[in-house]
Subunit: 296 residues, 2 copies
């Protein structure tokens, strides 16, 4: 990985994590609930979603400070979704990033509630933790974008479609709409939120929605490929589970080579869009390459 | 029940339900998800929380229109909490208001997700469905109040305390803080949200926080009494379960007579506060009596 991106990822990850953890620690809430919320927030992860918010601000040459709480909000949503996804009644996973899943440590009831609390509190990161330089209208816009990305019309809806698709062969089109909801919309929120905070022109915001669609699909294709080719040690969970479960994936519908080709196409489309915008292209293009090449 | 309150309850219930159901029906989301969300929203209930928002606007002699989406938001939060509470890993209830619980009909995974979706979408009722007469600052204030009432520092926190208190004898003080989080804070949101929408003086808003604390505790005491004395047919679920489960309740800590006395005291305190405010007292005082006397 290019050293500029590596440096960006490393420094911003630290800032995001510090803010995330201190927000939870300062809540006036039962300590067992806070422990359960913190456990999953501290379980690692690349913090790609919050870092994308900051990368957009950086690319538009703006201060990143207000991107931090907004990035924390999307990371809290992502984390709640992992806790609920891992529950016995959902994917029934014992491991996540090489550690026992939340319900394995805290029990199912607390895991459900920790997810509920992370979801609820995430919005407060946007409504109260950004500086007064961000107008109330802009905060509301960010909250609305996050609801659209995370709610019935976004991630939760995608999760339902994914469950319904589990036991049958689906078309490529159906697979796209599963992942658009399940993965792409939350990544898209990060991009759009960064652009809104940066006061990007509205035409560019629409272009960035297309950009984030492509990186969202690319992200998912890479995920499916990693499930076939990846290292369990690096990913921190069992691989091969999609095939064992008879789940439709990009490789199962397009062949492994076809999926790899599709991944390259989406990354090229994403970079093509970036090249048309009034922002610093380098970091975002490296971001695209990282999504295509990541090994976990 | 006095006919003025009865008329208010009946007409406002219809308006709230219409708005709630149409919001869900119009979501661009998988139909199974919408069905599951609607099932629990349509399972009945008195809609006390949204009606309280409208009652405050009425008492301050203001238009009720913007109270409707805000009331829908709190009803969606209340409904999501019931769906998650009923899950096998939580209270494991098969019946709610005389009907099979959400997971009994739709399965646990969909029930978890329907709860998540109701929680997420609830905020959108505040951010986008009120009229432009309500400023962005005021919308943000309402969202923040709802997060405080529903999140780690409110309802979810109270739920955790309730679980932790289940198998042991707790003090009256501990019982109060369980119910403050679990029940009173969401009822309090309704009162405060109505007052904020009505532009009530900030001193009165603080008085109304005390008022809502008393009706919240009174509500819970009545709940505990109904679990001992109520009619299963009217309540729509098993009674006597608190005692069977060895759960601490107001009657178990204060005796049945002591709990009834405490209920009267809280209602008197609530009415005493109302008598000091610049609003129409009649409807709110009748509301207090209804909370004390309700049979379901």
């Amino acid at each position: 990985m290019n050293s500029k991106l590596a440096e960006f990822l490393k420094t911003r990850k630290a800032v995001i994590e510090q803010r995330l953890f201190s927000y939870i620690q300062e809540l006036q809430a039962p300590s067992s609930l806070k422990q359960s919320m913190l456990y999953s927030l501290q379980a690692g992860g690349k913090r790609l979603r919050p870092i994308l918010v900051l990368a957009l601000l950086h690319a538009y040459r703006k201060k990143e400070a207000d991107g931090i709480p907004v990035g924390c909000a999307v990371e809290m949503i992502h984390t709640y979704s992992l806790i609920h996804d891992d529950l016995p009644c959902m994917d029934d996973d014992d491991l996540r990033r090489g550690k026992p899943t939340n319900h394995k440590i805290f029990g199912e009831a607390t895991a459900v509630l920790a997810g509920d609390a992370l979801l609820t509190e995430s919005f407060k990161m946007i409504t109260t933790s950004v500086s007064t330089e961000v107008s109330a209208e802009k905060r509301l816009k960010l909250v609305n974008e996050l609801i659209s990305a995370a709610g019935a019309e976004g991630m939760v809806g995608g999760q339902i479609l994914d469950m319904e698709a589990e036991s049958r062969q689906i078309s490529l089109e159906e697979l796209q709409s599963v992942h658009e909801g399940k993965t792409a919309k939350l990544l898209s929120f990060s991009v759009i939120a960064g652009a809104i905070l940066a006061d990007a022109p509205s035409k560019e915001i629409e272009k960035l929605r297309e950009f984030s669609y492509h990186i969202g699909v690319a992200f998912q294709i890479r995920d499916d490929i990693l499930d076939l080719e990846g290292s369990e040690a690096k990913i921190g969970k069992r691989t091969g589970s999609d095939m064992t479960n008879g789940k439709s994936t990009y490789p199962s519908l397009l062949s492994l080579e076809g999926a790899k080709q599709k991944l390259i196409e989406h990354i090229q489309e994403a970079k093509q869009i970036i090249s048309q915008l009034s922002l610093e292209k380098e970091l975002l293009c490296e971001f695209c390459d990282m999504i295509a090449d990541r090994d976990h």
